[in-house]
């Protein structure tokens, strides 16, 4: 337990020192999406009786909870390859579980802050959504999936450049294809089947449904839980691979 607290506390202290910069960083992309796709182009697209902004904001929430939680991989890599701080954890008598759980929770915390930033940014646009427990549960599930994936990947890559490649090939395509900017239901069946393999598609679906006050689909939560646990298990078994 001490090891877990130490790992999490370190990340939170770093976050505290960088808080203003981090908040600004979390706000830039969503704000640009809101202005470009919501405010400037939003009138061109209508979903039934709802504006495109009502559709877009839950998608941005899903995307931010993914990118912010996955962002912990960059911090782990910097600690590992540039500052060598990862050695402090390797030389300490802590379990792999303590290390992984500490970093995953840190990633999830960042994701929740990122989501709050988006919800605050969306207020001036006059969009009112439902923020019930299932809305937050979907965010927690999504950030658990991507924080666990981030820790596992950060242990396996051999350089910071590898990490950037992973982001380019996994996270960026998923951010656009995982039901964030357009309804997956509008695509051909085969494409829908393909995209339903992405955890972000289920997160977007669950977040959007609960934010609109509709009933949540239990399958989405089940997928996020199972995929999250698989990634967490992989992360746990990747820690030893980081030793040479």
């Amino acid at each position: 337990m001490n090891g877990f607290i130490a790992v999490y506390l370190r990340e939170m202290l770093i976050l505290k020192y960088r808080f203003k910069r981090q908040l600004a960083g979390m706000a830039v992309s969503p704000l640009l999406y809101l202005i470009t796709f919501g405010y400037a182009m939003g009138d061109l697209i209508q979903f039934g009786d709802q504006s495109y902004l009502h559709f877009l904001i839950p998608g941005l929430v899903a995307m931010a909870s993914m990118t912010q939680s996955f962002g912990i991989a960059t911090d782990i890599n910097v600690a590992r390859f540039y500052w060598n701080i990862f050695e402090e954890f390797q030389a300490a008598p802590i379990s792999n579980l303590s290390y992984v759980a500490g970093e995953v929770l840190a990633g999830m915390t960042r994701a929740l802050i990122g989501v709050v930033v988006i919800l605050l940014l969306s207020l001036p646009f006059g969009v009112v959504l439902h923020y019930g427990p299932l809305f937050w549960l979907a965010i927690v599930g999504n950030s658990f999936v991507f924080a666990s994936l981030a820790v596992g990947m950060a242990m396996l890559v051999k350089s910071h450049a590898d990490q950037s490649l992973l982001t380019s090939f996994i996270i960026t395509p998923m951010a656009f294809l995982g039901g964030t900017f357009f309804p997956v239901e509008k695509l051909p069946i085969w494409a829908q089947g393909l995209l339903s393999c992405l955890p972000l598609t289920h997160a977007s679906h669950a977040i959007r449904a609960t934010a609109s006050g509709k009933a949540a689909d239990g399958i989405d939560y089940l997928v996020l839980t199972v995929v999250g646990l698989v990634f967490f298990w992989l992360a746990l078994h990747s820690v030893n691979k980081a030793r040479d």
Binding site: A6, R10, P93
Partner: protein, 279 residues
């Protein structure tokens, strides 16, 4: 305190550590001396759990590093070659996190932070960010951090590399003080004078193998007490003598420039391996 048997580590076909046997006694200040790439850092990294063991066995304070890694790690304090402090955090926060990683409670952490920062003369910088400290102060903080959990063995990997002579001397006196307070010290260095000044016993390491192991005095005495360096057509040639009179007589007989000096550890290393320690 440290017992190593047939320790080996391969990187591809390269033997970074080649079948090392070694025993370091409780309270001893032991030094590994050798050129860059000799296997000094790899040995320390294996012993402290940073690098996977290839083959062989190692025990620290009676705990096998493979069978009981967490118990073995509890015995160790590590000051690596490179600065690995959290630059963005304060001096206190760096020590706090280390204390938590080693399971220290709040009261023990608070007491130890004050005691150690006073020990390494950094108490007035307790709330400074690490990035605001000089290289020498960071080294002292790393030693304090490694001592936080009261390890039985302190591993110091090239502890004074890149420091100016005055700061190096301060670090040396700190290391001596830590050893006098009862901690076993395992040091690697490629600075001859560092090993000579600090260590009770020295092992010469070359291409992953221990080529000699003894007290610095015994290693030097095997050559004699005095040395004469003379330049010949192929470079520097050194001849060793038991007495100063013999060395002076030889020096006087030479028709080129010579240097008369006392034998040092580098002579012993050079004699045993045919290599310069400083690469």
């Amino acid at each position: 305190m440290i017992r190593i048997e047939k320790l080996q580590k391969l990187y591809g076909k390269v033997k970074a550590v080649d079948s090392i046997d070694l025993a370091v006694h409780p309270g001893e200040l032991f030094a590994f001396l050798g050129p860059n790439g000799a296997g000094k850092t790899t040995t320390i990294r294996i012993l402290t759990g940073l690098t996977r063991i290839g083959s062989g066995q190692a025990r620290i304070g009676g705990h096998d590093i493979v069978e009981s890694p967490r118990e073995a790690k509890r015995q160790c304090g590590l000051v690596p070659q490179h600065i690995n402090l959290d630059n963005e955090l304060s001096v206190r926060e760096n020590l706090e996190i280390h204390g938590r990683l080693f399971g220290m409670n709040t009261q023990a952490r608070g007491q130890k932070i004050e005691e150690l920062l006073s020990y390494v003369e950094l108490l007035d910088r307790v709330d400074s960010l690490v990035k605001q400290l000089s290289g020498g102060l960071k080294r002292r903080l790393m030693i304090a951090r490694a001592l936080m959990h009261e390890p039985k063995v302190l591993f110091l990997d090239e502890p004074t590399v890149g420091l100016d002579p005055a700061i190096r001397r301060r670090i040396w006196s700190l290391i001596k003080r830590v050893q006098q307070d009862g901690t076993t010290i395992f040091l690697t260095t490629h600075y001859i004078e560092e090993a000579e000044f600090l260590a009770a016993r020295v092992a010469f390491l070359d291409t992953g193998k221990i080529v000699a192991l003894n007290t610095p005095q015994a290693l030097m005495a095997s050559l004699g007490e005095w040395a004469v360096d003379r330049m010949n057509g192929e470079g520097m040639e050194t001849t060793y003598f038991a007495t100063r009179d013999q060395a002076s007589e030889y020096a006087a007989s030479q028709d080129c420039g010579v240097t008369l000096r006392r034998v040092n550890l580098e002579d012993a290393f050079l004699h045993l391996t045919g290599k310069k320690v400083l690469s």
